[in-house]
Symmetry: C2
Subunit: 225 residues, 2 copies
Amino acid sequence: MDFEPLGLATDLVILTVRDGRLQVLLIRRGIAPYQGRWALPGGFVRPDEDLETTARRELAEETGLSSDRIHLEQVATYGAPDRDPRGRVVSVAYLALVPDLPAPTAGSDAASAHWINTTDVDAGSLAFDHQRILADAVERARAKLEYSPLATAFCPPEFTISELRGVYEAVWGTPLDPRNFHRKVTKTTNFVEPVGSTTTRDGGRPAQLFHRGTATTLHPPMTRG
Amino acid sequence: MDFEPLGLATDLVILTVRDGRLQVLLIRRGIAPYQGRWALPGGFVRPDEDLETTARRELAEETGLSSDRIHLEQVATYGAPDRDPRGRVVSVAYLALVPDLPAPTAGSDAASAHWINTTDVDAGSLAFDHQRILADAVERARAKLEYSPLATAFCPPEFTISELRGVYEAVWGTPLDPRNFHRKVTKTTNFVEPVGSTTTRDGGRPAQLFHRGTATTLHPPMTRG
DNA sequence: ATAATAGTGTCTATAAGACAATATGTA
DNA sequence: TACATATTGTCTTATAGACACTATTAT
């Protein structure tokens, strides 16, 4: 079969929660097109490479995170004929959720990589159609926090209920009642499991440490304020 | 830029509810590979054609439905290197929800097209990775019925609450209490609007006719039995 | 009248959201 | 001690689900 000339790429929306804010990893483009503009990390799919393999490779290159325990999911595919001035390039967007990294952007390409508050990304400031991709991915993350235990993907392996609440507040951009949140999380079956130890790293009374439970969907779901 | 040889296609999961069952439109393949096997309708994206444009074109070819009011949404993209024996073909899957058609498969290619109960599609009976695509699309439809008014996409422009309930029961594969369902639908804001007239086409006491309301998400959501 | 479906009312258990009160650490 | 955060409890309101009951047509 002969095919039309076409490029296939993946773009990554890598989200984390730092300083109580939802942040995204962006790259300052060094070359045209859109030179000097912020863009999502991404690259072309190699021959014989699966789409998710490409995404994981790029995630490792940008963040140094090569673990397959990092949450990565496909969001959507963008293929408007004129979305890339270099030619027809179709991009499969992936969403990655990573914990607050002790060594941020430890990867190779990382000289130009920065964590940016998602609320600070102005309309029209990103290259290509990346503004739209970012918006779709953030909305996906917001929705999944309701009915999946995905918020734990932003946390270290052991976390307190307060820290988990901080994730929800950052992603949803809304304050939550600490007391109702605590009761709800601990009553939702298999959302979190107590580790048995406590920490005072958040100040105040020592808080129990939890790790992620076995649930894949939350019953009942968490509700957005 | 030069690109690796690569094909870009869209595949369609066209769902309807007929005879109280969730059915999918499948094509009997006339040529290799997978000659004689059932497959999802689909085809290659033309140069300068947007992905959704391709999907709508194929939807019209297979069903005769060219209206842009037909619900069509992207599900996911499948790109395993060996998913097509003819070479590297990446497929963007779309989900279409259509009402029970008075003239089924009125399109051109339609000689080999048939509505099949989704529950009758046996493991391994579909070409390529279409079994997986179908499963993903059906799960998407099931999930969206909970928090969106999408069930109305399976109904004619004017429908009764019973008919709407039949959609939920067919897609979810579970019976629902007619009385609680009625109250819930009519109390959910802007889910449905009464037309003002009634029909006896379902037998028994005349039922009010409704059309779809303005809501895009349901508050509160419908709950799966 | 009888059958069939439409639609309303009522009751109970569960969950959401507001917020008081208590617990246990650090400065 | 004062302060900060954790955790439990209580109350009100809303919703889910079960199910009795009434309403309106066709035959």
